[in-house]
């Protein structure tokens, strides 16, 4: 096991501000880790939670907090929750939108998807019960400006600067403090957007201004407008929070600049990310995917499904060939946008999912309604009476009945078994089931739903889930991992060491610095390697300048990674194909086709190929990666573990219609690296537990990870 972090070591720290907890992970230059948790504090702009988590981690590492700041060589954070909360709670800036005249309704129309976006599948057909949201920017603050560029980037109508200035003045008079500028085809020719920004800055020097082409180079004005509007909506408040944080850090003696985690899976220095707070949305969960990617590499897996089950949601990411899958789009609330991001799909399934009886079929259902954190599961004794997944876990002995959730004070929760049983009885009795059988049913159903989602996500991308390992983390994940993994036919499940409870922060800490550039192109076969080379060169020139100018770029020649988004002509869905760096030879075009066909056939079968169809390159991206070289030798930390009393057991239920079995109860230190346990067993971890069904084996790896394999 890891020893204390030595006092002369330089450290890096990562902080992940979540809805309930702020997590911190510290890694020293020998790769040893420590972590801390603190309640998130939205009331003071999340500041005390931020510093509280750092202090807790420092304490675990074994030295005073003040020393921490002197030793820190890098501090990575993300404002994910800050920005997300602003959107969800609709308390962002008063935004004015400037768009191409004649297209003012783009944001209002929402492509006709406002009603269904973000709704669970159960609601899709409920036409009269679900509604379009109130527009995030009302129509009278969306102003059309006379200007037009076409799909080739040619100016069709010059920008009417006088009109634009008049609109900006009117919006300022109306109280707008932030501006989003989105003109049609700015991705092909950004001149009008750039000029508009100059004018806004002149007229309203204090306003926060976003231009759409800097956030996204994807075709599709609706998603680009949403990106610009959300960025402007969260911009002023996020800036304020970061400025405050930076000031406090420098007061504490932290000399280096703050880094920000981004949803594309890398971090950037604060000064390079401040104008684009939208890139922090979703970056916490993406941190989890980066952590998964690193762990997969350490353990020798290439294909891993990352699963994070919490109280209200089940988040899924896919690592294929050690690369995270890229998102086609991002949804926040009722709004969809498209910016470069690692894919994390989320469904409403978690510990809080409520079980109920469908009258028409007389069968048990679970979700999509959730008791969420308020009132929470019935066993929390906070007024909830409906049976939830967490209640079922408690009834079945999966959760330690003496567990304590939360950190301290009145936020601490001591779950009550009697309340959980009473809640589950509400569905058990009408169905003629025992309470434990009903609880097993709830678990079986939620596991099947999660397995189905995983299958749809993985198969939908053309992969076979059986080729993957599953990584499970989050407050509820390890309780269910055996269940949903088996449903899928996956052979191995990895539950990282105790760091699992701060997994996103851990991943953020291991991230590299990344800068990305994308260019829309409309290349349809036949094209030459020179046609392909040109757009890459253009964006790579920009990238090199960007890295050179950055705080981390001094003397660094970044590694450039190229991708092209390729499809058959007229399709609307692309595959991302790796393109070699440097000068492309004549063979590059045929190589690209071969790579596309291999990927396409691998996903959809050789029969899906149509050699006579033209390929189309929709866009190219290049990414500059500056590796930080941070490694973690283990996923566990000193002092984080304890031992169960020798021979401890409790009654745990696995099979419907059968009595419970006396299962071994372990805590993490009961299982040293190299040791293993075969179920029935439960491994109680802080705030969660690993359920080990009969016949399933769990071994502890060198890094402190738990590796579950299924017999037979």
């Amino acid at each position: 096991m890891a020893s204390s972090i030595a006092p002369d070591r330089s450290l890096i720290a990562a902080v992940d501000i979540g809805g309930t907890f702020t997590d911190c992970v510290i890694v020293d230059d020998e790769g040893k880790v420590a972590y801390g948790k603190s309640l998130s504090t939205p009331a003071d702009d999340f500041q005390s939670g931020f510093f509280g988590s750092l202090e807790a981690a420092a304490a675990q590492a074994g030295y005073p907090a003040e020393e921490l700041f002197e030793r820190l060589t890098r501090l990575v954070s993300h404002g994910s929750t800050v920005a997300t909360n602003i959107v969800v709670e609709e308390r962002g800036a008063r935004v004015g939108v400037l768009t191409t005249k004649g297209h003012e309704d783009t944001l209002i129309m929402m492509r006709g998807l406002g009603r269904v976006t973000g709704e669970p599948p159960e609601n899709l057909l409920r036409v009269t019960e679900t509604r379009k949201p109130t527009p995030i920017v009302p129509r009278d603050r969306i102003r059309g400006v006379s200007e037009r560029v076409d799909s080739a980037g040619t100016v069709v109508v010059e920008l009417d600067e006088q009109q634009l200035e008049a609109e900006v003045r009117a919006l300022v008079a109306d109280g707008c403090e932030a501006f989003a500028v989105c003109f049609l085809w700015s991705i092909q020719n950004p001149a009008h957007e750039l000029r508009a920004r100059e004018i806004v800055r002149r007229v309203a020097p204090d306003a926060f201004v976003t231009v759409s082409h800097e956030l996204s180079k994807s075709v599709g004005e609706y998603e680009r407008t949403v990106a610009a509007v959300i960025n402007a909506f969260v911009g002023p408040k996020t800036s304020q929070y970061l400025t405050k944080l930076e000031a406090q850090l420098s007061k504490l003696g932290f000399g280096d600049g703050l880094m920000l985690m981004q949803c594309h899976g890398g971090m950037v220095p604060l000064e390079d990310g401040k104008d684009r707070p939208i890139l922090t949305i979703g970056s916490g969960p993406v941190g989890g995917i980066v952590g998964t990617q690193r762990l997969a590499a350490d353990l020798g897996f290439r294909d891993v499904i990352a699963t994070d089950m919490g109280g209200t949601s089940f988040d899924v990411g896919i690592i294929k060939d050690l690369d995270p899958e890229v998102a086609e789009g991002t949804t926040i609330g009722k709004y969809a946008y498209k910016i470069p991001a690692v894919e994390v799909l989320s469904i409403g399934a978690g510990g809080g999912s409520i079980a109920w009886i469908d009258e028409a079929s007389g069968t048990l259902r679970v979700g999509p309604q959730s008791a969420s954190s308020n009132p929470g599961p019935a066993c929390y004794d906070r007024g909830g009476v409906e049976p939830t997944v967490t209640d079922a876990n408690l009834v079945l002995g999966y959760l330690d009945p003496k567990a304590v959730f939360g950190t301290s004070g009145d936020r601490q929760i001591h779950p009550r078994l009697d309340l959980a049983e009473a809640a589950v009885r509400r569905v058990a009795e009408p169905l003629g089931l025992s309470v434990t059988d009903a609880a097993l049913g709830i678990i079986e159903i939620i596991n099947a739903k999660m397995a189905n989602v995983l299958e749809r996500v993985v198969v939908g991308r053309g992969f076979d889930p059986r080729d993957f390992a599953i990584l499970s983390y989050g407050g509820s994940g390890p309780l269910h991992a055996a269940g949903y993994a088996r449903e899928l036919g996956v052979e191995q499940v990895v539950i990282p060491g105790e760091v699992a409870s701060v997994w996103s922060a851990f991943g953020i800490g291991l991230s590299d610095v990344r800068y990305q550039q994308e260019e829309d192109c409309q290349l349809v076969e036949p094209f030459t390697s020179a046609d392909l080379q040109t757009p890459f060169e253009a964006i790579e020139q920009v990238l090199r300048e960007q890295v050179a100018a950055s705080r981390v770029g001094g003397g660094v020649d970044p590694q450039l990674v190229r991708h092209a988004r390729v499809r058959y002509e007229w399709q609307r869905h692309e595959l991302e194909i790796l393109v070699p760096a440097g000068e492309l030879g004549e063979e590059a075009v045929s190589q690209l086709r071969a790579a596309f066909e291999a990927s396409y056939a691998g996903r959809y079968g050789a029969a899906a190929l149509l050699p006579e169809a033209n390929l189309e390159i929709v866009s190219v991206t290049s990414e500059a990666v500056v590796s930080t070289g941070v490694q973690a030798v283990s996923r566990t930390a000193p002092g984080a573990t304890d031992r169960a009393p020798d021979g401890a057991t409790r009654t745990v239920h696995f099979e419907r219609g059968e009595d419970g079995v006396e299962a071994a109860v372990l805590r993490s230190d009961d299982l040293q690296p190299g040791q293993s346990v075969t179920g029935p067993a439960v491994i109680d971890l802080p705030t969660t537990g690993i359920v080990v069904p009969p016949g399933t084996r769990v071994a502890r790896g060198d890094g402190g990870d738990f590796i579950m394999t299924f017999g037979g």
Binding site: K101, G102, A360, R456, E569, W570, L610, A613
Partner: protein, 768 residues
């Protein structure tokens, strides 16, 4: 469950099979399914399945169907498929009942089960594992030829366990007009080819001969080849998933869950029907212009009857088949099942087969809505299906409004446009490639009003829940066009106590290639009926300006927001007319219609009218003329509004020949009275329907709600600013009718009709 028979058919069955044979007329399955000896149907099913396994299998089946849909959207290329989600995926039982149906185009619900029955009965000995059947014959079961079914039998051992299937709209499958909506088709031989069930996949392999024949039909053969592969991949995935379940849980258990789900859908439906009294609901619309060059108008009727736990749809009084505005029985049935699937049984998440057991049809063959073989049907996806969809929507909504359950009444929704408004252009794009470009902006949509809320602009189209509106940039990237504007079209939603959602308006010009426009809206008659006195949604129109000064305007920095103010010649457009020839100086404007409203607009809260006007959703003219709201500096003048509304009611009565002051609206409806909406009270003691405002008698309870009403007939273009004189398209006279309370002038209905036609009977409740 289908009755599988081995005994000799009765005379009636023999007669049915001979008549509804899918050759001379539409195929309508007989009540019994006759399975040939060479095909064994799997029938072993558990009846005692615990409620947990049941749910796990249910969710997995639903998931398999969703996965099927994801694969199609990832791999298909037809923009109609991808944007309007003009496709469907289904799991169908071995004997042809729809188990799960996806959240895509809903009216495709109505025939995939029928096609399965046809294949079993007509090709049963050839139904083998590893095969897939392609069918686009509308008389056997599809909405029109471009909607191609691909059905895959799923075998457990040597027994047919179930089917997985999809139906995907193809961008072009031939016929006289690019895009295959052949508005000039004189008969089925101008339409794209109709292909009865043929095996395009055998033992897992695409049959080259069949595929080559299929590709040869299309102007864009590579596109349909890619779509075919998408459909095969989708079926393969769904089939493998179901076989995995059968292996894991046992085929009998999976089959038992399938049966249980259908039974649950059936009982959910009959339970809902118990809240509704027996009765009849009726709708009538007119389709103008049967084919290019025609100037006629054609009556379409839909009747819905409820008798106990059964519903019966009929088309009595519909005009004989004509031109290219027809549809076959399958498409007709599809629109009714779509309304049931979404408006009535949304909670069932697409399990429609159980409800379908309770629904009967009494179609008259040889009519526009149940045409015989040989007439043209390919444009149905723009005209006939949408009109039937709007009508099915209206009759089902009227029925729901009669429920004793508030939750059921809350499902009532006024109709969306009864035509699919779009432009389909074709030519060579800016890259020099041949293309067919359907502009599907109408999927951005609009919703009708409910009994308690306004409809919404850009709220999707309810019968295609997952349809997604196109980005302007997506179209401009692939097609040689440039949008000038795309925005909410004020006054296009039907005025009412609750207003229908507005539609949209688009201006665009050709840009950088060569194109002509083959299909475009040019409508004279409304087709989305208003409910209980509200106005219908607007019609679709096209303006073509030739020789305009648009290029000079753009060069001078002027981006127009309407065709008004541009110079040039307006070329008259004709419904289903000849292709529009456009050049660099042409400008086109078209709109997608708004939805219908609910209730008499003179009962709308005046403050809502003021807000609508301030938001630009209605004009001052409509605020005054339809809503009778008087505003002073944007604020409602209550007294003047009362006065104006009374004057409007008086004018209505005068229009109907009743020259007196309207009766006082002070009738108080006794507590516990059964109501239809807030407007019609059922006075059981007196045996009459009464106006809920003035108490005037509307009809007797053993008759209907329109026996004693005043009718004001006037010109169609007087419905509102978004309607025009139909005589530009048709020669026959049609009138706009307002159906009024003889006492107070309250409006109970609006309709467009031939002067000689009877009133539509809105509500006829058989009081028990």
């Amino acid at each position: 469950m289908a009755i599988i028979e081995s005994t000799a058919p009765s005379d009636a069955e023999r007669e049915h099979r001979k008549y509804w044979n899918g050759v001379d007329r539409s195929f309508i399955p007989a009540g019994t399914l006759r399975v040939p000896d060479g095909l064994k149907l799997h029938s072993e099913a558990d009846t005692e399945i615990d409620p947990i396994t049941f749910e796990v299998v249910r969710h997995s089946l639903w998931n398999a169907n969703e996965e099927h849909g994801s694969i199609i959207t990832n791999l298909a290329v037809s923009p109609i498929t991808l944007e309007t989600r003009d496709f469907q995926t289904a799991i169908i039982t071995a004997d042809g009942e729809i188990l799960f149906f996806g959240p895509y185009l809903q009216y495709l619900a109505g025939f995939m089960d029928m096609v399965v029955k046809f294949i079993i009965e007509q090709r049963g000995n050839d139904v083998k594992p590893g095969d897939m059947w392609l069918v686009n014959d509308p008389w056997i079961g599809t909405a029109h030829q471009p909607d191609v079914n691909l059905l895959c039998p799923v075998f457990v051992g040597d027994e047919l366990f179930c089917w997985v299937a999809n139906n995907v709209h193809q961008n072009d499958i031939g016929g006289t007009v690019p895009g295959s909506f052949c508005t000039n088709a004189q008969d089925a031989f101008w339409d794209p080819v109709s292909i009865p069930p043929c095996r395009i996949v055998r033992d897992g392999e695409i049959q080259r001969d069949v595929e080559d024949f299929y590709r040869r039909q299309s102007r864009t053969p590579v596109n349909i080849a890619l779509d075919l592969r998408a459909c095969i991949a989708g079926n393969n995935a769904a089939r493998d998933r179901i076989l995995g379940m059968a292996k894991r849980y046992g085929a009998a258990t999976v089959k038992g869950v399938m049966n249980g789900l259908l039974d649950a859908s059936q009982s959910a439906f009959t339970n809902l029907l118990e809240t509704i009294p027996d009765g009849e609901w009726h709708e009538r619309c007119y389709q103008e212009v049967a084919v290019t060059g025609d100037r006629g108008s054609y009556r379409i009727e839909m009747q819905l009857r409820k008798e106990g736990d059964r519903l019966i749809f009929a088309n009595k009084g519909t005009d004989p088949e004509v031109g290219a505005i027809n549809l076959t029985f399958g498409a007709h049935r599809g629109t009714t099942l779509a309304a049931i699937n979404v408006l009535v049984l949304a909670e069932q998440m697409g399990v429609i087969g159980g409800a379908a057991r309770q629904i009967d049809y009494e179609p008259e063959s040889g009519t526009i809505t149940c045409c015989d073989y040989g007439v043209a049907v390919s444009p149905a996806g723009v005209y006939a299906n949408e009109l039937m969809m709007a009508m099915a929507n209206a009759v089902v909504t009227k029925m729901l409004l009669c429920s004793s359950s508030e939750a059921v009444r809350a499902k009532a929704l006024a109709s969306t446009p009864g035509q699919w408004h779009l432009h389909i252009h074709a030519g060579n794009n800016q890259r020099g490639a041949y293309y067919v470009g359907p502009m599907l902006d109408a999927i951005i949509g609009t919703t009708g009003a409910t009994a308690t809320a306004d409809g919404d602009f850009a709220n999707g189209v309810w019968w295609i829940p997952e349809g997604r509106g196109p980005n302007v940039e997506t179209y401009e990237r692939d097609w040689p066009i440039l949008y000038l504007y795309r925005r909410e079209d004020s006054d296009s939603g039907g005025a009412g106590r609750f207003r229908g959602g507005n539609g949209g308006r688009i201006g665009y010009i050709p840009h950088g290639g060569e194109m002509g426009v083959g299909v475009y809206p040019a409508e004279g008659l409304p087709k989305s009926p208003g409910i209980l006195g509200a106005l219908p949604g607007s019609i679709g129109e096209t303006v073509l300006l030739q020789g305009s000064d648009i290029r000079a305007q753009l060069a001078a920095g002027n981006l127009p927001s309407s065709v008004e103010g541009l110079t040039g010649t307006r070329v008259p457009t004709q419904g289903k007319g000849d292709p529009l020839l456009v050049d660099d100086d042409s400008v086109m404007e078209w709109n997608w219609g708004g939805s219908a409203g609910y209730g008499d607009p003179l009962t709308r809260e005046p403050a809502r009218v003021a807000a609508d006007l301030a938001a630009g959703q209605i004009s001052a003219e409509v605020a005054d003329r339809e809503y009778g709201v008087v505003l002073v500096d944007g604020a409602v003048d209550e007294a003047a509004t009362q006065e104006r509304r009374t004057a409007l009611r008086k004018a209505r009565l005068a229009g109907a020949g009743i020259d007196r002051e309207p009766a006082a609206r002070d009738f108080s409806v006794a507590d516990g009275t059964t109501m239809i909406g807030a407007d019609i009270a059922l006075d059981q003691d007196a045996g009459t329907y009464r106006c809920a405002y003035c108490g005037d008698r509307l009809g007797s309870l053993d008759g209907h709600t329109r026996e004693h009403v005043a009718v004001w007939e006037h010109a169609v273009q007087e419905i509102g600013p978004r309607f025009s004189d139909p005589s530009q398209y048709i020669d026959q006279e049609l009138v706009y009718r307002e159906i009024l309370c003889c006492g107070c002038g309250h409006r109970f209905g609006t309709e467009v009709s031939r002067p000689e036609d009877d009133l539509v009977v809105d509500f006829r409740i058989h009081a028990s």
